[in-house]
């Protein structure tokens, strides 16, 4: 994993039910205030990699207001993109997406890691993934270990830099390595915004194919080149099996 900047916490994943104490945060961003404790989801016991934890720093009032708006109606916070290659389009949170405040990414991560409404957490992850700052990828990687939001985190790791999703300074090798750990995750993911059920691994496979380069795959589906990693994972069992096989050798 690439070094993480700003106010993200790095905590060794615990192998028991007890949580380690939160690591000391680096100095918070300009608008940060004393942190309250997040209630992060426990990391999987089998995960040997460090997991990021973020402090619940307070943001500027306008940004707090946007978070409140998302929390009040999270299902309406993420709309349809009207294009297969851009299925999600936030309806609120434009300042959270655009803000240069270094406290924003840690705060969004903390919200996404916090307990409570899963749809709210997913909406926050979508906002996080549209930010341009270089700390976003580390935050999304941390969220890969959270079953409830891992599919969305994987999706957003795969689609930076295309049609409304900003290019970021990225360590692609670290992202690919992190995604590979979840490639066999056959758990289901209920997407509340589309009211559809997918497999977590399908989002992981899509992101990996996009990051590794669709041209390196031979997949018998005419939509593969254009949409893989951008569109919702529409593929059949056959395509999934092909992807899974090929992703292991690419």
């Amino acid at each position: 994993m690439r070094p993480v900047s700003l106010a993200l916490f790095v905590v060794a994943a615990c192998s028991s039910a007890s949580e380690p104490p939160h690591a000391q945060a680096p100095p918070p961003g300009p608008s940060a205030a004393p942190a309250s404790s997040p209630s992060p989801a426990a990391a999987p016991a089998s995960n040997p990699t460090p997991t990021l934890r973020a402090p619940m720093t307070h943001l500027a009032p306008a940004l707090e207001a946007e978070l409140k708006a998302v929390r009040s109606d999270p299902i309406e916070a993420i709309g349809y993109g009207k294009k297969t290659y851009r299925p999600y389009e936030p309806t609120t949170g434009e300042n959270l997406i655009a803000s240069d405040d270094p406290a924003v990414t840690p705060r969004l991560l903390a919200e996404a890691q916090g307990g409570g409404d899963r749809v709210y957490r997913l909406a926050v992850v979508h906002l996080l993934g549209m930010r341009a700052t270089s700390d976003v990828d580390a935050a999304l990687i941390a969220l890969l270990d959270d079953r409830e939001v891992s599919a969305t985190a994987a999706y957003l790791l795969g689609r930076a830099g295309f049609k409304g999703y900003p290019s970021r300074t990225r360590d692609v090798a670290a992202i690919v390595a992190a995604l590979r750990r979840h490639v066999d995750d056959a758990a289901t993911f209920d997407d509340p915004f589309y009211r559809r059920t997918f497999r977590v691994q399908d989002f992981v496979l899509g992101a990996l194919a996009r990051l590794l380069g669709p041209e390196r795959f031979q997949i018998a589906d005419p939509r593969f080149d254009n949409d893989i990693g951008y569109a919702l994972p529409w593929w059949s069992d056959t395509v999934r099996a092909e992807l899974l096989t090929q992703v292991r050798t690419r």
Partner: protein, 436 residues
């Protein structure tokens, strides 16, 4: 890498599809009747999932007809209700689907898709080729290729400007719409709607500052580049060999069959020379879906008759509206070969200062450009200087330099149509894009 279907392959009878989907091809060519087809698909349901892809790839169209016979549509008079949710409306309760696109698709997943509509039509200024198809019953897909005729078109950059109008019931639908409100982000998109036709340039207002579909400005090289892997910026050098402009689109209607009314999207895609705004042809296409359970997607347009030498009058007006909606102000009519701000430029910038002071989250991109006269290197420097002068004025009036970005488009981006070598004052400009 599996080769992408070349334009016209679909019309040629589906050999590419046969290669990609041999199991489906075997069924298509076996001469089964409807009953035997049902029996085969019942025995191997995975085949049914491959059939739409086979047909979309240009597979044998008789299979489509056979599917229609094997699985006749069930007429349903009553509109399908929105899917029930657990808990009160607006809550974040989750409804589980069945694996893919469950409640949006026809309840009979084997409903045949409409036949693909490929085209290949010589126009005055080049050849337009396309393949319009339905990917599933809420998604269309189109690839468009325009190859300029170098004897008639001189162009450094050729791409596309696409207009769109999407409706749900009697209202409009936009990106960012939701199942309960397809027009939720209307306020964001509405500034781009041409007042008469209500069409708008198809782009993402939150992240794109140009109207081109298939091209984007490379900030480093100061050149137009392809927008994605499936697009290509064309060119047509004088006396040389032209290169095709290419684009791909995949619009969908996720709010269809939800009791909100029939859905439709109409597009007009126009190849255009970026440095002159000269339109080179036009293709209208789209799709519609009835608000009924089990309704099929219907393709619209995309025939030879929908491909023309010139765009509609709406297209030009809609492109003009893009500049009104996108930019806070445009400082134009700079003196030829000069970068000095004029009094009316300063008045316009004063309004920008007021707005940026009122909302400190706003940033500004100042894009300098020039007309089609003069030397390229001189014009690059000139358009940059115009943008820098606008930036310096804003800084002098209290806007932090860190909130301002200058860009130099030289004579590579025309706001209004102009002939090479002729001076056009509205292209000698600085366009001010305010964004978060």
């Amino acid at each position: 890498m599996q080769r992408k279907a070349a334009d016209g392959d679909a019309a040629a009878g589906g050999s590419e599809a046969d290669t990609r989907f041999p199991r489906v091809a075997a069924i298509a060519n076996r001469g089964l009747d409807a009953a035997a087809l049902r029996q085969a698909l019942t025995a191997d349901p995975s085949l049914a999932r491959e059939i739409p892809m086979y047909l979309a790839a240009g597979g044998a169209p008789q299979l489509n007809d056979l599917m229609a016979a094997a699985y006749p549509a069930v007429p349903v008079a009553k509109p399908e209700q929105p899917p029930a949710v657990d808990g009160p409306v607006g809550s974040s309760a989750i409804v589980k689907g069945e694996g893919t696109k469950s409640e949006k698709q026809p309840t009979d997943p084997t409903q045949p898709l409409p036949a693909a509509r490929p085209g290949n039509k010589p126009l005055d200024k080049g050849v337009l080729k396309w393949t319009l198809k339905a990917v599933d019953h809420e998604t269309a897909d189109i690839d468009i290729d325009f190859k300029p005729d170098p004897a008639k078109v001189e162009a450094k950059n050729v791409s596309f400007v696409q207009t769109v109008i999407s409706k749900v019931g009697t209202g409009f639908a936009y990106g960012g719409g939701t199942a309960t409100n397809p027009a939720k982000k209307q306020a964001v998109y509405q500034p781009f709607e041409e007042p008469g036709s209500k069409k708008r340039v198809d782009h993402f207002p939150d992240g794109e500052n140009d109207p081109f579909y298939g091209a984007e400005w490379n900030q480093s090289s100061k050149k137009w580049q392809r927008e994605g892997a499936s697009s290509q910026v064309g060119k047509s050098p004088k006396g040389g060999t032209s290169t095709s402009a290419k684009m791909h689109d995949g619009p969908d209607a996720p709010e269809s069959r939800m009791g909100l009314g029939d859905t439709s999207s109409e597009f007009e895609t126009v190849p255009v020379v970026l440095e002159t705004r000269q339109p080179l042809g036009s293709l209208t296409w789209g799709f519609k879906i009835k608000d009924q359970a089990n309704s099929r997607i219907e393709l619209t347009g995309g025939t030879d008759a929908d491909c023309k030498d010139a765009p509609s009058a709406d297209w030009g007006k809609t492109l003009d509206q893009f500049y009104v909606g996108k930019f806070e102000t445009i400082l134009d009519e700079f003196d030829i070969a000069k970068a000095d701000l004029k009094p009316d430029h300063k008045t316009k910038l004063d309004a920008v200062v007021t707005k940026m002071k009122a909302d400190t989250s706003l940033k500004a991109q100042l894009g300098g450009a020039c007309d089609l006269t003069g030397d390229e290197q001189f014009n690059k420097a000139l358009s940059l200087k115009r943008a820098e002068n606008a930036r310096d004025y804003l800084v002098a009036n209290g806007i932090a330099a860190g909130r301002l970005e200058v860009q130099s488009y030289s004579f590579d981006w025309a706001r209004v149509e102009a002939e090479p070598g002729k001076s056009e004052g509205k292209n000698r400009r600085v366009q001010v894009w305010l964004h978060k």
